[in-house]
Amino acid sequence: MAHAERQQQGAEGQQHAHVEGQQHPIGIYLKIWGLLFVLSAASYLVDYFHFQGYLRWFLIIVFMLLKAGLIVAVFMHMLWERLALVYVIVVPPLLLMVLLGIGALEADYTFFTRGVYFFKGLL
């Protein structure tokens, strides 16, 4: 009996997910909100405790990507969109990795030439 009731509730819940528009239980937003708070606090603590070097960069990047992922997936509802829209929006920014690489190469070269031409130490 209790089992049948639960099944019925489950079916209702399923139907609920199919109503018009992006309607999701409020709990998921509150949970993600909490999670974003925790992640922000964690990334602040990275600075507060003066972590340096690769550990610092690794933690900053991980917390940043986790936060970005949660916002896009849940708050912006990407989790519930059709793949066509998700791919059109999410794939093109990957091109920016190329720009990132070019920028890094160029910066290294500029740094090198500045070192060569602006170095006044031996004069």
Binding site: Q23, Y48, W57, I61, K67, I71, R82, P93, R114
Partner: protein, 240 residues
């Protein structure tokens, strides 16, 4: 895999005759985004272009920071505040981060109540979101004032590399502008909700299409994007 949500995409468009009809027919195509309203798809594409703008800023910031021979000012110290006689590193930025994340949370709930046609809750949550956004902009103005008083300029500063000022004012200025525009539109949408424009499907300005609660979600997308950009600025500019 989660099931995609079904969304009403409005009635089919009227077929005009004559010359306008030719233009309309030739420019029409099978719609690509099946279960989202046009406004939402367009907002996403705008946000995609905005992603490229902010990424260009952040990548050029990386380039100037990597290539400068001067030491980069330590953001942890530059943005420290003295509270209760104690200097706390980066505290203002941390508070701004929490404020913006909270506004994202209230915005997400406003969208939910909007689809439930709960006018009062949607209005209140939109207004809270706008208030938090305005607080954020206010704190940013305070931060700018403090830095300008400390002698930071786009062309130089007393702490180190000259590029610090130009990157800072460019990136946070552009983001702050986005937040300010967002606050204005949040207030507009909140008023439309309160007046019942969306319940009675009154068309908005700049469009003859019927109003509905999907504009709350479209507004929400923009607002969450502003929060998203801040996540990257916080990590790459303030914490790096």
């Amino acid at each position: 895999m989660t099931e995609p949500v079904l969304t009403s995409t409005g009635e089919s468009l009227p077929l005009p005759e004559g010359l306008p009809g030719i233009v309309a027919d030739l420019s029409s195509d099978q719609r690509a985004f099946k279960n989202v309203p046009w406004g939402k798809a367009m907002m996403w594409i705008f946000l995609l272009s905005d992603t490229f703008i902010f990424s260009s800023f952040l990548i050029s910031y990386m380039t100037v920071r990597m290539s400068t021979t001067e030491p980069w000012p330590n953001p942890s110290e530059v943005f420290a505040l003295t509270l209760f006689g104690k200097s706390i590193p980066l505290i203002l930025i941390a508070i701004m981060t929490f404020i913006l994340i909270s506004s994202s949370g209230t915005m997400a709930m406003a969208v939910k109540f909007g689809y439930e046609k709960n006018k009062k809750m949607t209005f209140i949550l939109l207004l809270i979101t706008a208030a938090l956004g305005a607080t954020f902009v206010g704190m940013q103005a305070f931060e700018w004032t403090k830095l300008i008083e400390d002698g930071v300029r786009p062309w130089g500063n007393p702490m180190g590399a000259a590029q610090f000022g130009s990157s800072f004012f460019m990136i946070t200025g552009f983001h702050g502008t986005h937040v300010s525009i967002g606050v204005i539109f949040l207030i507009i949408v909140a008023i439309k909700v309160l007046r019942g424009d969306l319940d009675h499907q009154r068309p908005g300005f700049l469009t003859g299409r019927k109003g509905n609660y999907e504009i709350v979600e479209t507004m929400g997308l923009y607002w969450h994007f502003v929060d998203l950009v801040w996540v990257f600025i916080f990590a790459l500019f303030y914490l790096w």
